[in-house]
């Protein structure tokens, strides 16, 4: 029973109703008045059927100028205001506050930009004047159709979810918890600590990594505001900022951390050995194990894939009462689904290193003495497989000649085109530490460029070059292999422009930093974006570096891009502070100029879901529904909706069409 198309947009009859619009034209000193005949504009615009008041003033934004507007609103009973002056990006807020002060809804005020986009760019006075008039007329068309709006408000859960228990997640969780808010910290592995726990010493200060990390880990363990869930993964995220509903799957540990007293009797009886993840495969562990002595939670764990006791007929030795006195082991431990309501989420899922198998010319998968830099960290670590004495894996001899290969896959179009950011500095660290342990060793570092960007990093690299005497060779390595116990490296020295061949005892590959596995899956569950390389895509690289495009979800650490510990910690604290910005509020307020759906017109075709970059639309009872807190008001869904069922508040099709007509002087 509707009227047919076409809609009579240009029907002037009654379009302005009871509107009483005031227009205030600014001279901006001579800035506008020199090119635009302000008096003429006022005269012309006074004839407009919706305008009941028009005047000009030297500086509208000045105190007397603002008072002029307020007085006119009161005396003339204005229903809307157009200020023709500079760009709205400069003074829109100012003038909206002015009209609000005078009792009008701020959305009943709009600006016409007759300075930046008129007087400053045109020279012919009559044409600039005429254009200024048209600009004002088009803004009048908008303002008469502007709804009075109030900010959208909604309550929130004052709790945070932090995904990932590496240094980034730990720092972010502690910051939020210390501010007095509850934090759920979810870690996939049996312990928190992440890669940092594996490191020997950290550049550029050469602090022992564990010494600075483990106190933070215990702080997490003991913090009354932190609920730590290890062996856990986020399986589902619903909702929006302030009101996320999260489902977490907690996998069984098979050892009760409250009962386990770390006696280590269980590992003695366990018959199964597998490579240790913590030692990057350079040592062996049992099927029941503790990843490293300072693990948090402080408890052993059973690896269900390796354990024979999952079938009690075969094994079950560790659970015998004379082995595990406290009876901490339970083979019947089951996975558990935990549901939580949180207000904000911080994603700190960290990194992995690129699979060395994919770079076959470097031979890391074929030869024992070509290792990764993380493996080398373990060799240098006092709690590592060799007790901190860097022995090479093949024959446990201490290498006398060693080479570090920078950019082993980074800045390489065939592998990872980006710079992994930390390798230059850690390779220097490795060289320095190695030289301290083996002073008579020869150390080579093959690099493309040295990128030691960070406070004191350049000095640090200099130290490696000058004090430790590491030979830096600027050249891309083409091939590495091992023969007769010697590792052969072929490269081009691009400074001397010659091919070189170096024979060493061991080579260490600085492989690319890549995002942790499963990040794409997690990102799609949370409706956040990842970039071409799989790292989390921030909302804006400069202005919103720790925020996702989805409000309420923040990033920290190497999940967003390769980072060193300093930057990771800084970003974690930044993410925590952005999270606290939300958590400390009693309700979330959001700009009301968002999309809304006319349910009577919506056919449920779902096209809008495909274009919304924020996941702000969902289908409720077969019709689209916009979540006003998530919607950012871009309008992509409005122009997509084939039914014309969605409109953007204060930027409707009708407004836009009327503005179009007015800018060419059609009204």
């Amino acid at each position: 029973m509707e009227n047919p198309a076409p809609r009579p947009y240009s029907d002037a009859k009654g379009r302005y109703g009871k509107e009483r619009i005031g227009v205030f034209v600014c001279h901006c000193g001579r800035n506008i008045a020199a090119t635009v005949d302000v008096k003429k504009v006022v005269e012309e615009i006074s004839k407009h059927p919706a305008v009941v008041h028009a005047e000009d003033y030297d500086y509208m934004c000045s105190k007397p100028g603002q008072e002029l507007i307020e007085r006119a609103i009161e005396e003339k009973g204005l229903t809307g205001v157009v200020v023709a002056a500079c760009s709205p990006s400069i003074h829109e807020t100012t003038f909206r506050e002015v009209v609000e002060h005078a009792g009008l809804n701020p959305y009943r005020c709009e600006m016409a930009n007759i300075r930046e986009q008129c007087s400053w760019v045109h020279e012919e006075r009559d044409k600039a004047t005429e254009k200024a008039t048209r600009l004002i007329k088009s803004v009048i068309e908008k303002v008469v159709r502007n709804e009075e709006l109030e900010p959208v408000k909604v309550g929130l859960h004052k709790k945070a979810l932090v995904i990932g228990g590496g240094i980034a997640g730990i720092r972010a969780a502690l910051d939020i918890a210390n501010a007095g808010f509850q934090v759920i910290l979810v870690e996939r592995k049996p312990t928190i600590g992440g890669h940092m726990a594996q490191l020997a010493e950290t550049f550029p200060t050469l602090d022992c990594a564990q010494c600075i990390l483990t106190p933070l880990m215990s702080e997490v363990a003991n913090h009354p505001n932190i609920k730590l869930l290890t062996l856990s993964e986020v399986i589902d995220v619903e909702g929006y900022v302030g009101n996320f509903h999260v489902r977490i799957k907690k996998n069984p540990r098979y050892v009760d951390p409250d009962k386990c007293n770390l006696c280590d009797n269980c590992t003695e009886v366990c018959p199964v050995v597998v490579p240790s993840e913590f030692d990057e495969g350079l040592s062996l562990r049992k099927a029941i194990y503790i990843p490293f002595p300072q693990a948090v939670p402080s408890s052993y764990v059973i690896d269900p894939d390796a354990c024979l006791g999952m079938n009690p007929i075969i094994c079950g030795k560790c659970a015998e009462p004379d082995v595990c006195g406290p009876g901490a082991i339970n083979f019947y431990d089951q996975p558990e689904i935990i549901e939580e309501d949180v207000g904000v989420i911080i994603v700190a899922t960290g990194y992995e290193i690129y699979d060395p198998k994919k770079i076959s010319e470097y031979g890391a998968d074929k030869y024992p003495d070509i290792i990764t830099s993380l493996q080398f960290e373990r060799l240098l670590s006092p709690n590592g497989p060799t007790g901190g004495i860097p022995k090479r894996p093949s024959d446990e001899k201490i290498p006398k000649r060693i080479a570090f290969i920078h950019c082993a896959g980074s800045r390489d179009e065939k592998h990872r085109p980006y710079c992994s950011h930390i390798c230059c500095t850690y390779c220097s660290k490795h060289g320095l530490l190695f030289k301290e342990l083996v002073p008579d060793a020869e150390v080579y570092s093959f690099y493309i460029d040295i990128r030691a960007v960070g406070k004191n990093y350049e000095d640090f690299v200099k130290r490696a070059q000058e004090e430790a005497g590491i030979q830096f060779i600027r050249g891309k390595v083409s091939k590495i292999y091992e023969e007769d116990g010697k590792v052969k490296i072929f490269a081009v020295d691009t400074l001397l422009n010659r091919r070189i061949e170096v024979e060493v005892d061991m080579a260490v590959l600085a492989l690319p930093i890549v995002p942790a596995q499963g990040i794409a899956d997690l990102a799609s569950k949370m409706r956040i974006q990842i970039d071409n390389y799989g790292f989390l895509q921030e909302r804006h690289p400069k202005l919103h570096p720790v925020e996702s495009a989805t409000p309420g979800i923040f990033f920290a650490g190497a999940a967003q891009s390769p980072k060193d510990i300093q930057d990771t910690v800084a970003q974690a604290s930044a993410a925590a502070s952005k999270a606290l910005e939300i958590l400390t509020q009693d309700e979330i307020s959001h700009t009301p100029t968002v999309a809304s759906v006319d349910r009577d017109l919506c056919s449920g075709c779902r096209l809008c879901l495909s274009v919304c970059p924020y996941g702000a639309i969902r289908i409720v009872d077969g019709k689209a529904e916009v979540n006003e807190i998530i919607c950012e008001g871009c309008g992509a869904c409005v122009s997509t909706c084939p039914s014309g069922a969605i409109s953007l508040r204060n930027f409707t099709d009708e407004q836009l069409d009327a503005m179009i007509e007015a800018v060419v002087g059609g009204i």
């Binding site: 509707e2 198309a5 017109l601 779902r606 879901l609 084939p642 014309g644």
Partner: protein, 328 residues
């Protein structure tokens, strides 16, 4: 009960709208009982004289688009005499398929129709003349420069879209005639169609994210019966087209071509569809795919004018040929 005076006149028609009435079957008896047919060339014997002489008609039904001056005159006469004017069929409502002619100049059309086609034997290239044939007291009606829907010239009271309107619509219109006998006048602007798009009535599974990977035509490969056409890359105007047709094409595994015209809140069916379908192209993957690849994918779509505006070009915003580019 009094009989309702009813007249039907034609614009540019194919005859399909007349045939649509035959589909009403026995219901036609109800129409015959309720109405006195003053004029309806396909149904009763009569001359235009009869219509001209009749002072007032209760319900006038117009088929077809306005192509010639004579169509316009016929329409204006019917409007003047009718209490209620019905735009019956897509051509009357939106210009219909004849409206596609607005994409070429009339002179080009005539040349094509009378000279250029293979089956035409017209060696001298003679075109119809529009001068009066005085000796025969005849004149050929002049072609208007544009095809128009009837609402461009007159007020319309009832709209019955469809090419042709389905039997359900015809039945409803007959009911309107019967109601008139009891002086029940339908609301002005009544649409004998649904207020929502065809998608609302489509049984096919709707995808969570509608992402068109590439456009394909109906003859290219198999068409899945239970999946949204657009998801399969096939242009289907369902989202922008009024429901009420009974989804006959969809049931026959053919996509909607849009004959029911735009949904209520949309003015320009084709452009609205253009905006929508472009959004779905590689949705959520645009950044990865890049401008060049998107441009290629769009170039693969043949004839957007013919596909998006098959029935509504004459009622669209840009509804006439422009003279920037050489005509065909």
């Amino acid at each position: 009960m009094r009989k309702i005076k009813l007249a039907v006149d034609y614009g540019s028609i194919c005859g399909g709208c007349d045939v649509a009435f035959i589909d009403a079957g026995e219901k036609l008896i109800e129409l015959a009982n309720a109405a006195e047919i003053v004029f309806w060339p396909a149904v009763v014997d009569g001359k235009e004289e009869d219509l001209r002489k009749t002072r007032e008609i209760d319900i006038g039904i117009f088929f077809g688009a306005i192509r010639t001056e004579r169509h316009k005159e016929a329409l204006e006469q019917l409007r003047e005499k009718s209490r209620i004017l019905v735009a019956f069929g897509t051509c009357a409502c939106y210009g219909g398929i004849p409206g596609l002619a607005n994409s070429v100049e009339s002179r080009v059309l005539l040349k094509k129709g009378y000279v250029a086609t293979k089956s035409t034997d017209n060696p001298d290239g003679k075109l119809p003349g529009f001068e009066e044939f005085k000796e025969a007291a005849l004149r050929l009606p002049r072609l208007r420069s544009l095809v128009s829907p009837i609402c461009d010239f007159v007020d319309v009271d009832i709209w019955v879209p469809g090419c042709p309107p389905p039997v359900e619509s015809v039945n409803k219109l007959i009911d309107v005639v019967k109601d008139l006998q009891e002086d029940q006048v339908p609301p002005k602007g009544l649409f004998i169609a649904e207020g929502r798009s065809l998608c609302d009535f489509c049984e096919r599974e709707k995808p969570e994210v509608l992402r068109i990977k590439r456009f394909r035509r109906v003859h290219e490969g198999e068409i899945k019966r239970d999946e949204c056409f657009l998801k399969q890359g096939i242009i289907c105007l369902g989202p922008v087209t009024r429901g009420g047709c009974g989804a006959r094409c969809i049931d026959a595994n053919m996509p909607c071509r849009g004959c029911f015209g735009p949904v209520p809140n949309v003015e320009d069916q084709g452009t609205r569809f253009l905006s929508a379908v472009a959004s779905a192209l590689m949705a959520e993957e645009e950044r990865e795919v890049g401008e060049e690849e998107l441009r290629k994918l769009i170039d693969e779509l043949p004839d957007p004018l013919g596909l998006f505006y098959m029935y509504s070009l004459a009622a669209s915003i840009i509804n006439r040929r422009y003279l920037d580019l050489e005509g065909d």
